[in-house]
Symmetry: D2
């Protein structure tokens, strides 16, 4: 680990990680593999155990079998992989129980104590379970399975409520059993490599410093698209919709990191203070600054793709948006008047997550005539591609080599894959490690969450009360055209749909 655990802690203390909801998909695909990766990289303390907890009855061995199917070793360090896997699996244990049974958590506590063998014990609970049982588990774990002499931390993942009110309720319920310090709300997008890099880029490079404001930036775009639909798993999604699922958390978190003022230090509290300031400076979203869409069935090349409402797990006639675009504004000195556009959708033509920063036109441009009238094409653009293929590129105008004076746009380009051939760790690894180490930078504080919901709740209520019908768009298309009209309203052109990029 980059921040080495103190020698003392390594020897004398013990860590147990309990994955609550161990038999679920996320646990299998992401959490256990991430824990193994951390172990493989020597990032876990010497004395640790991993517990699965779920209602299903399993033996330790059955859990280990289940886990072992998804473990992989880092591409670049293949050796001893099998040994490492064996060692890891030996540290995995299982406890079955109801999620609301204090008694069963007391049983878990006994098992934990057994492994801890009287040492200073730190306990991490990862809640990989549906939100309706969050509070039950927190209650039981806190009352019956807290560490007596070390720390106890709980990782939860979204959804954190459906609106300001339900989120507030959830927080208040948590706080009956946990302090703010013990709650680690994950937004796994904050663990992405390029999102982590955002602060480094901004604050350690002088060349970006003067550019990062309304004086130079014309608009900023946060774009998330998936090239598949709900595909038979729309039950959960339909209750939330794309705005709650992607925008209000992932994209808004990235926006806050992008737009925040320089923090006084890189400590978690200082960064989160600045993020809250950005969120509080924003205008709540209005219905007129949002458009929503839903994908419909589509046939292409002999293959046919289903509509969202064809998904059997989705209620007939559902109005839940599978696509949304929104224009947001930050009413502070740095960003006054700059549109921050968001766009998120399922079943689109591509899979992508990126930040696009479009710069202003050069005033009094000497070269205007060389570009013809489409000045939008001639402005600089900084693109941070979060996935796939992490990259940073800055589009600049340059002269085409050759006689005469013809201008062209080229990219000053940094493709991670080319520069850093090692595998990039999964976001879950980073986040788990941070939670173990008590580093809260990438987790969401209660007041951040409140501020985020405050922005989106009026809009969500409006959408639902007015039964706004989403604009249909074909599965695999570029989404509803309404997104263009929304952009045009603020003199923006989506950067991901220009000819060169698509």
């Amino acid at each position: 680990a980059s921040i080495p655990l103190a020698e003392f802690e390594k020897i004398e203390s013990t860590l147990s990680i309990t994955v609550v909801g161990a038999s679920g998909d996320l646990a299998k695909k992401k959490i256990f593999p991430a824990l193994f990766a951390l172990f493989y990289e020597d990032c876990l303390p010497e004395d640790f155990s991993v517990f699965g907890y779920a209602r299903t009855k399993l033996t330790d061995e059955e859990l280990r079998n289940m886990i072992s199917q998804t473990l992989t070793c880092r591409i670049d360090k293949k050796e001893n992989c099998e040994d490492k896997m064996d060692q890891f699996l030996k540290r995995c244990f299982y406890q079955s129980g109801q999620y609301n049974s204090e008694e069963h958590f007391a049983e878990l506590d006994s098992k934990l104590k057994e492994k801890e063998a009287g040492k200073l014990s730190n306990r991490l609970f990862y809640l990989s379970i549906p939100p309706n049982i969050f509070v039950d588990v927190v209650r039981c774990a806190s009352l019956r399975a807290s560490s007596a002499n070390g720390w106890t931390r709980v990782i939860v993942e979204k959804p954190f409520g459906r609106d300001a009110e339900s989120s507030g309720d959830l927080t208040r319920s948590f706080k009956k059993y946990l302090t703010e310090d013990q709650i680690f709300r994950i937004d796994h997008y904050l663990g992405k490599e390029l999102v982590e890099n955002l602060s480094v880029l901004r604050f350690s490079n002088l060349v970006f410093e003067p550019l990062w404001s309304r004086n130079y930036i014309r608009n900023v775009q946060f774009i998330f698209s998936e090239d598949f639909g709900t595909e038979g798993r729309g039950g959960y999604f339909d209750n939330y919709g794309i705005i709650r699922d992607i925008m209000q958390n992932h994209l808004l978190q990235i926006l806050a990191l992008f737009a925040m003022e320089t923090p006084v230090s890189l400590d978690a509290e200082d960064i989160r203070n600045e993020k809250v300031k950005v969120l509080r400076s924003m205008k709540p979203l209005l219905l007129e600054d949002v458009i929503v869409g839903q994908y419909k069935g589509h046939s292409k090349g002999g293959k046919s793709y289903p509509a969202y409402t064809d998904d059997p797990t989705v209620p007939k006639g559902s109005l839940t948006p599978t696509f949304a675009a929104a224009a947001l504004f930050i009413n502070n000195a740095r960003w006054d008047g700059v549109p921050f556009l968001m766009k998120a959708g399922k079943a689109l033509h591509t899979k992508r997550a990126e930040i696009r920063v479009q710069f202003r036109h050069v005033p009094g441009n000497l070269f205007k005539r060389n570009f013809g009238t489409d000045l939008d094409k001639a402005t600089n653009e900084l693109v941070l591609r979060v996935q796939p293929d992490e990259a940073i590129y800055l589009r600049i105008n340059n002269k085409v080599p050759g006689l005469g004076m013809r201008l062209d746009r080229s990219d000053l380009n940094l493709l991670y894959r080319a520069r850093y051939p090692r595998e990039i760790p999964d976001a879950y690894e980073r986040l788990l490690l941070d939670a173990i180490e008590g580093e809260r930078r990438l987790f969401i504080r209660s007041d951040e969450l409140d501020a985020a919901w405050a922005l989106f709740t009026p809009l969500l209520r409006d959408l639902e009360e007015k039964k706004i019908v989403p604009e249909l768009y074909p599965y695999g298309s570029r989404g509803p055209v309404g997104a263009h009209y929304l952009a045009a309203k603020y003199n923006v052109r989506w950067g991901d749909l220009s000819g060169e990029d698509s």
Copy 2:
């Protein structure tokens, strides 16, 4: 051609290009091939002739033979190359004569008239001859071989004198026979692709605009190095030395383009006005801001390399510098206090020409601890590599992918060869075409030349009067260490000698 010749001109007028000094090296290696390349690219008017003029007696055929040996076709357009060469060579003619004989030039005039056949005739003279006969040729050509009804232009190449006085004399002599409009002083570095691109980069990209000043730039370096010595051809060089040969013209011209204010238009006069302003804002060079070097013999890997003074064409005990480094300052609002460093040398370890812009440190850097104490390594740098392998790259700090927070420098990179696979035209092509088309942007005006000499003349006089002994450096080395002390005096570190680049 990018700027198409008017239809009228194509049909009714005729162009003759007379290469005076046709049997010389430059003519053979650069000028005739460049003329052929222009012809091959359809950039010459329909009706043109090329004349060689020199003292040697040659037939047209002999000239053609000589020329044909250096003609090549563009890599990416090989077809019909042979045909094109034949067509070109048929337009080449020869006239022998003395350089100071008006009579011989009158003979040339007759031949020219014959080819022009009464059409509107434009005449371009390229003076590929030693400077001591410039004025003779200008006189003869002007008095006896000027066009009667079209334009007459004369291209000259450096050296334009040895100091302010001799340069002034030369200009005054030219002006007896030619107007300013007729004189095209070539600095072939101005025809380099990346030098041409400099104005495009600066003035058509908003992202560079705020950076281009003392507020963000810590220093700028202009670096020229050759990996060979005079090698038996030091006779001309010894009379001039590296400062006159490279710095006072090539590097200073690039500096002026780099540092000038935004011109009111891209017209030649407007750009040259701004370049003159920069030169006039500079402090004349002092001896204490310059160091000079000379290469000495060196053996490496069983091979031995000669000293400069081993060159039989170089006078024994010559003090002529083959290397120089200098710190210059522009005393205006944009650049006050920013060191502009120049370095030029022969017989160094590498062949390279580049501009390096080192940006300031980030104030109050949050990430300071991540870099250790060597803050010079952590600043941003913009590099414009003029040759070899034209490229632009911007060094930025970013997070190394992986767990933990480790910073690293990467390049946002644009390598011309990768982006523009076509062959990049030689500087001479561009300059010849511009002279034909009357585009003066890349040629040096008299007042520019005066201002350039005003900066360097006191230094050159000092060096010679005080018989300053150059610091010896081994052939093939990185040059004299004095260059580092000079840089250190102004808190600069040469960017080309850091570990990563060498």
Copy 3:
């Protein structure tokens, strides 16, 4: 009042202000007059009472007599003054008691209840007492005299401890009885008109925005001087010294307001968050960046002035500084490298408090020759004079009218007295009103106080442990010359000692 009290509150609630330490000087000179002024201006709620509390035995009438001697009416509203005074005095009552007697405070509670007559009651305690009894009073008041149904607030004035440790102890003791919300730590300098105006100037005037950073500001000076010494009242002072008395609180608070980033709103918490950030960005003071002085006796014009140590209340051989100058640095992006100088002293030649902002030199100044070599005289300076005679002026260079080109410095000037002929309210009025209205902007939060002590405590410890001997300066002089050497070390020239201002 500008922020009108809700109608409801005016009618139904009652306010009592208890001045603990009612017989002291501050109470008589500042607090009661300020309360009267608020009453006179209709800023107090309709139903209010003022209680004096002290150990002395007094009747209500005696208290009223005592108070009435210092009441004055605003210059510009003389009418009905006598009536108003009578009305005010009728609302004043007295209760004697020990400061550590819960019983006596219970008696006070009874009296308060009597006046409150069952209405919603808000209670404000003003602790005008020595710091050693702060905690006793807070305990007694909190336990026995808190409001049962309204708010209870306590105003305290410095000293808040002598160093980080004692200040932390005090805060912890307060927090046993009071929440952060109930504690109003006064720094009466924050109530000064020009200090209040500082945020308005910075954040509502675009012209100051680009200037407010290291790019334009060369240094900032915070200057406080008194033209009298301790004059027989040095007992308290000697225990603290000028650094604790003026710098660590008044000047540092003004510095924080001056230098803070734009807050997200003008709410108290947002402003105080930003102030804490500035304080946390500062380097703790080092001995080498401070000089201390002490005044010595002096005779002038037949009159003789005593030395500090001539004061009979001062211990013989006291090393307590009566003068100090310090250089502070804020290690953030805005202020990196800009010296913030402070200077505070007693028994100097003038009485003054001001902020002086010295701007950088014009780069590449065209007019350099017109100023001769003393470039320090030619830079712009913004002066905010806090007292006496509040004024803002901006020194600019302009051409002296007349033939020829001679430059001169003039002031763009705003003298409050000329522009706003009304009397400016005393700082205590503003602060009392804010405390009544729950406006915390001008009060110091615990974490601010901690950060402030963290900066000064190492220095104070050093001074005392190393028994640093202060440089002596004559009573009525401009202070020790050491202050000039300290300034010179950072290329600063004190703005208040140039010829034109003294």
Copy 4:
């Protein structure tokens, strides 16, 4: 004089100033008094003579009588005034002659030679005559009365033609007899104290540097108004109109000085180079960006004021504008998009000439609610009042002293009269002295004049060809309301018509 004449020149050379058109109004009211003031201030060389030349027959004595009636002494140096007047008058001589008679100028030459007595002679001709005889006088003076051994200079005042063509003709005619160096085209507005000060303010004060661009300036206004009409002297005016009389020269010159880039030095050629660049960067004026007006008769307070067309010297039905407002744009990097508004008129309610710089709104203003919705009132404004009562003031927002937070606009103010009690020299003094000393900074070069006419000529042609009828406005009013609509089109509010200033 500030720039002392060389000792040599004082002793050995002689200066004669010939006022051609000596009996005219301008000569009597401005030129002779200005010459006397220069003499009084010891700014003239020791050996000088003043000649009057006109068609009227006068003796030297009659000229002296005529002159003496308008001579006055500087307020602050009254002593010896009578003596000085006598000395001055003794140096004044008269020569009558026709303006187109070479013979008469030869007679003048004889008289000049007589006074020059064989010394090195410098001759200045001031052409105080109608423009139709400019060329005649220049021809005669140049051919017959040029100095043989010193310099000969000619001062002319507008009008310099009526449009690009006639101005070009005039320049070409001048250049037949004079070099550019000998022509001194006066724009007496350039001699005004505050106009002179403009460059000092801009370039010697760092605080203005960042503000002087589109990033901070919302618009700039150049306002000229007279409170009287043509009053029986409209003959000349009617042929030109307010646009040619005031805008195309006075206001445009000031605009160019205001907006130019930093010159490389303060030398005349460098400043004039930059002014030409500004003019060349401007878009020619379109009819739609201009409104014209003409005053009509009006009765007020029992007094009646005539219409422009009531003036007997004005042709019936004249469409000549006596008022115009225009919006101009500078298409360069500094000013792209910033409206530069001009307004000039006769017979308005006030007499005034000023530059008003309105700054942008504060982005994300924290204080917005404190200003209500009229944000135009809350922005900063810099006013340079050229006449009457020279002053500079900067309007800033500040807090109104007192409890509560109420904002207000105050002025940081510099009133020349208060700061510099000495009389400010007349513009003519400065200009005459500069012409004598060869200082060309305040005179207009031929290419400047061409560029100025290029901007206005299309508009003037349009106005005349389309017979645009001016909007009538009452004598003594604030001018036509059309000026407001023009301003509103570019989101501007005239600064001189807000409540506070009128």
